[in-house]
Amino acid sequence: MTDANGATTPAAPPATPADGAAPLLRVRDLEKVFPIKKGLLRRTVAHVRAVDGVSFDIARGEVLGLVGESGSGKSTTGRLLLRLIEPTGGSIELEGKELRDLEGEDLRAVRRDMQMVFQDPYSSLDPLAPVADIVGEPFQVHFNMPRKERDEKVVKLLEQVGLSAQHLRRFPAEFSGGQRQRIAVARALALEPKLIVADEPVSALDMSTQSQVVNLLSDLRDRLGVALLFIAHDLSIVHHASDRIAVMYLGGIVEVGDADDVYSRPCHPYSEALISAAPVPDPEVERTRRRIVLEGDPPSPLDPPSGCRYHPRCAYAMDICSQVAPEPTPTLAGGEVACHLHTSGPTLAGRPLAEMSGVTIPEPG
């Protein structure tokens, strides 16, 4: 039976930074080193390079998916962009303006343009505040707007995320997880930001409500032109929601490119392993496909491996991989990959890894 719940034609893909237009956000060599302190005197005994030289662009209205496992630095990267934590190196430019130099009122002004949606809508909303205050707080903080005007704005925002004026005086506890995440999105939209950083926005939600929130985020991009950094570990959702995907491993981006290319024709061995590890809801495919099972655990970011950080788990590792860190090189599909397979030895020169590995990834849809 085919039902009629609204399938729409795909929106025209927004310009990627490769088109030459100035990107909305330009991140270069972003770095965050956390000191590890120990003992009575809290002496620094070691450093964790949580984010180590990350560079990417986000175009206006673009959705960039950022994927990786726990400890890859993807959430830290998201927080660094908004300076919720301070970077220790690199640059973040929003519309050509360097954010790292900003302080006080200037920083607050820029934060209107960048908002965040957190993973857990059960802890990111004040349980004692009614929806009107949660969503309306940005207006009060930034414009000192009177309550009546604020409430009118809040109702408009609630309608944009599929809630209504009758929810204005309710408290977070009266809402389901999916509805709470809508409230968090409404709050993020309040100041008409140019970029929303969504850190695992659907991971805490039940499966039947995940797609509600993913669709909402896609709608907002199409309607309001807001760009999105979509941080998540579920590749099928990221693939669906994103224009481009960046894959992180131990603090660095190993591959970035068009979402279909990275998902279906990955060029980096880690991308391939990560994508092939996720089981798909099709028993026939699960029985027949070849899956790469990675040996061992991700190494500790406290003591990352030399050279390419992925080499101890990589099935294709060569001598050079343990000695020299690979530089990003262009892929034929227009993305970038940091892997010696593309530049040394029997080189792939930007072709998909499948040409060498024979691993195919089931096409969605």
């Binding site: 959702i237 089981p279 809801p281 028993p283 990675l294």
Partner: protein
């Protein structure tokens, strides 16, 4: 997944290893009773894997924990659960202890909270073994080492002397599996065993469980919310919604032709079911809370096919000729597809 033709030892070789019939669980608090599991029935065949899938609040975890007496005292359990001819419901605590960790073992989602942080891994493994098998400490230690090797932990002898905190998340789950399997259970209850793990570690653990099942021939009751995991490790699947089983089928039949509107909605809401660029399908609304479960069809409020009759009376769980089970009065007239 394919499984060996050597189901766990004696018992009736033809019948199911575990047969749950009309299992209900209620909790009473502040003089109010909430029936969170309502007349759930399913069967697990020897050596096979049954997946129980559902969202939070569906009752999937409560039904599986009820089988082994791991619910708090406030829970009232009725119905029947026959395991290899033995009735599990109404067993004394002592009888439950004898069977738990021995014939039936459990692994949980969060391996750190299920291992005791103040005892070494070797200590916990040998205790589990000697509690049920007796024997010397030395024999138990040898068995513990064998188990750690079996679950793929490098240098097992050395690691026996270490505490749980010294293991990574994936390695802890391996220790949990070793602990659960040390007495060669005939049934393993795996409650979201990979949900807290990264996807590359998840695939290691799923592969390990399948290998061990081949080797040891145990049946697995796999509780999960992830349909991808179901497709990859289960033989059959039982779908729970709001405390009830709404459908049970072999995974091939289920993923190709779901028979219940909720199953169809779930399958269609997976990102895999629509091409990129199209909107994801969704199930409108949310799961009702136990105190507000309707007495008629519990999914009717969210169901695209609901009619008046759906909200008139309780819907029975119907056994179909092809062995499938479905709780929907319109299943004969509706033709459903996993993809929109």
């Amino acid at each position: 997944m394919s499984t060996p033709s050597t189901p766990g030892a004696a018992g009736a070789p033809t019948g199911p290893l575990l047969e749950v019939t009309d299992l209900s669980v209620s909790f009473t608090a502040h003089k109010q009773t909430a029936k969170v599991v309502d007349q759930v029935s399913f069967a697990v065949q020897p050596g096979k894997t049954l997946g129980i899938v559902g969202e939070s609040g569906s009752g999937k975890t409560v039904s599986s924990l009820a089988l082994v007496g791991l619910l708090p005292r406030t829970a009232t359990i009725t119905g029947s659960a026959r395991f290899a001819g033995q009735e599990l419901v109404g067993m004394t605590t002592r009888q439950q202890r004898e069977i738990r960790g021995n014939d039936i073992s459990v692994i949980f989602q969060e391996p750190m909270t299920s291992l005791d942080p103040v005892f070494t891994v070797g200590n916990q493994l040998t205790e589990a073994y000697r509690n049920h098998q007796g024997g010397s400490k030395k024999d138990a230690m040898a068995r513990a080492e064998e188990m750690l090797r079996l679950v793929g932990i490098p240098e097992p002898r050395k690691r026996l002397a270490e505490y749980p905190h010294a293991f990574s998340g994936g390695m802890r789950q391996r220790v949990m599996i070793a602990l659960a399997l040390i007495n060669s259970p005939r049934l393993l209850i795996a409650d979201e065993p990979t949900t807290a793990l990264d996807v590359t570690i998840q695939s290691q653990i799923l592969e390990l469980l399948q290998e061990l099942q081949q080797e040891m021939g145990m049946a697995i009751l796999f509780v999960t919310h992830d349909l991808g995991v179901v497709a990859s490790v289960c033989d059959e699947v039982s779908v729970m919604y709001a405390g009830q089983v709404v459908e049970q089928a072999s995974i091939d039949e289920f993923f190709a032709h779901p028979r219940h509107p909720y199953s169809e909605g779930l399958l269609r809401s997976m990102p895999h079911s629509v091409p990129k660029g199209e909107r994801l399908r969704m199930i409108p609304g949310t799961v009702p809370i136990p105190s507000r479960f309707p007495t008629s069809c519990r999914f009717a409020g969210r169901c695209p096919y609901a009619q008046e009759a759906c909200s008139a009376a309780p819907i029975p769980l119907e056994q179909l000729d092809d062995g499938r089970v479905v709780r929907c009065i319109r299943h004969r007239e509706l033709v459903m597809e996993a993809r929109p």
